[in-house]
């Protein structure tokens, strides 16, 4: 069995290094452009949010929660939760975390929804996309942070890059699932009236898939939130940054406070998104 030891090491790592170097060397204009756009987007968003005094913003968010969910519980959760965060002196980190989550979710949607639709409509695309999603979801989240640094440097853009990769799979999967779940008889009905593919998609498949797609968006938001926290390791600020500092200084009090703030943000976003998705379902059976 001597020969087994003579098999040269298969250079998977080298290949990846090579690819990343190649990309950062030759496509730096791309990464730079992406970097600039995203960075200024985040900056504007954060500054816009910080323009309001915290208490005013709390009221605005509370009103928004009521408007989107029409549920008193969600409204109260928003009011009390945000107040608590402000009270814990975590208001500014919370806003930058929120901005990171929103920006990465929007990017994940822009890429993920079309891919999901594509995978639903084409069997070949489905067979190509699904294994990639499996890899994306099982790869430890930390690994995505590493290439973010050579490509986008330390800071929020790299964080968003890894967050988008980590949080996009459910959006793709559930969009695809929602469209594929439309009963065959309904699709046949749309076909039998001579619909084009586009008409079928817009008039039948997407409306029918909306609740499932909303569930996917919800999951993407939750994953984005958890990744944004991890991304504090590569210099994303925000609540994750507070946790990261607490770890380095071994300050449980500070860590838990930031942790609780993250939980509050997650719960508010989740409840609101659930209601938005749920309302859509309600209209169906109404």
């Amino acid at each position: 069995m001597e020969w087994l030891n003579n098999i040269p090491r298969i250079p998977i790592g080298d290949a990846i290094d090579y690819a990343i170097t190649l990309f950062s060397d030759n496509f730096s204009f791309l990464t730079k452009a992406f970097s600039d756009v995203v960075e200024s987007g985040i900056a504007i968003l954060i500054q816009g949010l910080m323009f309001f005094p915290p208490l005013v913003l709390i009221l605005i968010f509370t009103a928004l929660a009521w408007f989107l969910s029409r549920k008193r519980g969600v409204m109260l959760l928003t009011l009390i939760g945000l107040f608590l965060i402000w009270n814990m002196n975590l208001w500014d980190p919370m806003l930058s975390t929120l901005a990171l989550v929103l920006v990465s979710t929007v990017i994940a949607m822009i890429i993920g929804l079309p891919l999901g639709i594509f995978a639903a409509l084409s069997q070949r695309a489905y067979r190509m996309i699904m294994p990639i999603l499996d890899v994306m979801q099982t790869m430890p989240a930390f690994v995505y942070l590493i290439p973010a640094i050579p490509l986008f440097g330390l800071g929020p853009v790299g964080a968003i890059f890894s967050t988008v990769i980590f949080s996009m799979p459910p959006a793709i999967r559930l969009t695809c699932l929602g469209i594929r779940q439309v009963p065959i008889e309904l699709v046949e009905a749309a076909d039998s009236f001579g619909s084009t593919r586009r008409q079928k998609l817009i008039k039948l498949q997407l409306p029918m898939a909306t609740p499932t797609i909303m569930a996917g968006i919800n999951q993407t938001i939750m994953l984005a939130l958890s990744m944004v926290v991890i991304a504090a390791m590569i210099g994303a600020k925000g609540l994750g940054g507070e946790v990261w500092k607490a770890i380095q200084r071994l300050e449980p009090s500070r860590g838990f406070e930031a942790g609780i703030a993250i939980v509050i943000v997650a719960m508010i976003l989740d409840r609101i998104m659930q209601r938005v998705g749920g309302k859509q379902t309600g209209a169906t059976s109404q």
Binding site: E185, A189, S192, F193, Q199, K203, S285
Partner: protein, 436 residues
């Protein structure tokens, strides 16, 4: 079922106005040679094989392998195998068979929701199978209306927006769209429900929406895939009556899929019976019942109430002598009755049936010295059309007076008395039983 009879007849002698451009072409099928005929749709040697490399399945079928053998040998599923038939303008053709017989596959091949593997579908001479995607879409938009077993309504659209769907696809302007949709909804009796959602309606009403959705496009061909099978029996009967009534006005060419023989007998001008993907028998309801092609058909029809199928014209006897209202007096009428051995006689005037004269009345009138039949004419008599099913005759025959069978011009074609009805039914049951 008061309108059952005329509708059945409508297909045979009436054609829809303005639709006469039916091309004539020669048709050769494997079952039998057909001469050049004007048919709305002609299906020639149609095959549908499911699975990879379906052509191999066609080849094996042509070599004489059965459905099961092919499945075992190649893993291919035979949907339909060498099916040829035609549909005439304005008729209801019922395709029936048990589940798995290929009837739903067949109807989906007609508008290519399922792509046939081999064969031709000629719609007024145009081969549907050779159309490209755009032409096919045009054809589906203008010519075919489809109604589905489980309604297939769009749950997130209101009733009116469901009905508008086909028009929306054709980019008809909104105002015209809702106008046409409302007309279609009125046709199916759903006016006032336009803003409801499908889930708020009962099954029967949902299928009316399905029907309206197809009718809104004013297609000349309706494909109805087990359209009433998911409804409970009473509603189903209502819907069948409704369809017959609508068909009287619209004269669409309807291809109706069913697994219910009673439904097939009630609706079908002609019936095609399928088994394992091929046609086992094709003909009128009566032909299928009284001379089933094989054991499968015989078994299928053995539970049928024959009185629903045997119609007045097959039971009626020759009316024999008829008195003339203009020329015959009581004396002549009595003489004619005596000659024919009857106790009453029908009276015609200008070749139209006007009534009946009884022997006792005639002899009384003779004694009284009446010269014509005016005073003794019984005008309140039972008349039926030739295609009235036998079971509708029973109540009429309870009072022992005969029933007159008249054509659409009121001309006396025949007469039915109680004895002849029972004899006809007994005979029908016998042939049906013997074939088994």
């Amino acid at each position: 079922m008061p309108y059952g009879a005329p509708a059945k007849a409508s297909g045979s002698w009436e054609t829809a106005p303005g639709r006469c451009g039916v091309a004539a072409y020669a048709v050769t099928s494997t079952n039998r040679e057909r001469q050049t005929v004007d048919h709305k749709i002609v299906v020639q040697n149609l095959y549908k094989i499911f699975g990879n490399h379906p052509r191999k399945g066609v080849k094996l079928l042509k070599q004489g392998y059965t459905k099961d053998q092919i499945l075992e040998k190649t893993g291919l599923g035979v949907g339909i195998a060498d099916v040829s038939f035609h549909v005439d303008e304005g008729e209801i053709l019922v395709i029936m068979g048990l589940s798995g017989s290929g009837k739903s596959t067949l109807v989906r091949c007609l508008n290519r929701l399922i792509e046939p593997t081999d064969g031709k579908i000629l719609l007024e001479g145009t081969d549907v199978t050779s159309l490209n995607r755009e032409e096919l879409r045009q054809l589906r938009q203008k010519r075919f209306g489809m109604v589905f077993q489980h309604f297939a309504l769009f749950p997130r659209r209101s009733v009116i927006r469901n009905v508008e769907y086909g028009l929306e696809v054709q980019k008809v302007p909104a105002a015209e769209r809702s106008e046409r949709a409302m007309i279609a909804l009125e046709q199916v009796g759903l006016k006032g429900w336009e803003d409801s959602y499908p889930a708020q309606l009962s099954g029967g009403m949902q299928q009316r929406v399905g029907l309206a959705r197809a009718l809104a496009l004013d297609p000349d061909i309706m494909l109805m895939d087990e359209a009433f099978s998911a409804l409970d029996p009473l509603i189903r009967r209502d819907m069948q009556d409704e369809l017959i009534k609508l068909q009287e006005k619209m004269h669409k060419t309807i291809i109706f899929i069913s697994h219910d023989l009673d439904e097939a007998l009630k609706l079908g001008d002609r019936i095609i019976l399928m088994k394992d993907g091929h046609i086992v028998q094709e003909g009128t309801a009566e032909a299928i019942l009284t001379s089933p092609a094989d054991e499968y058909v015989a078994k299928f029809v053995q539970d049928v109430d024959i009185s629903k199928v045997v119609t007045a014209d097959t039971i009626m006897k020759n009316p024999g002598e008829v008195a003339s209202f203009a020329h015959d007096g009581p004396k002549a009428a009595l003489w004619k009755m005596r000659q024919a051995g009857l106790s009453s006689i029908y009276v015609q005037h200008k070749n139209r049936l006007v009534g009946l004269v009884r022997a006792e009345d005639a002899s009384a009138a003779l004694k009284a010295g009446d010269k014509d039949l005016r005073n003794i004419l019984v005008t309140d008599i039972h008349r039926v059309s030739p295609d009235t099913p036998a079971y509708e005759l029973f109540p009429l025959l309870v009072e022992s007076s005969p029933v007159a069978v008249v054509d659409s011009e009121d001309h006396l074609m025949g007469v039915i008395i109680k004895g002849s009805l029972l004899a006809a039914l007994a005979e029908g049951v016998q042939t049906n039983g013997m074939a088994e």
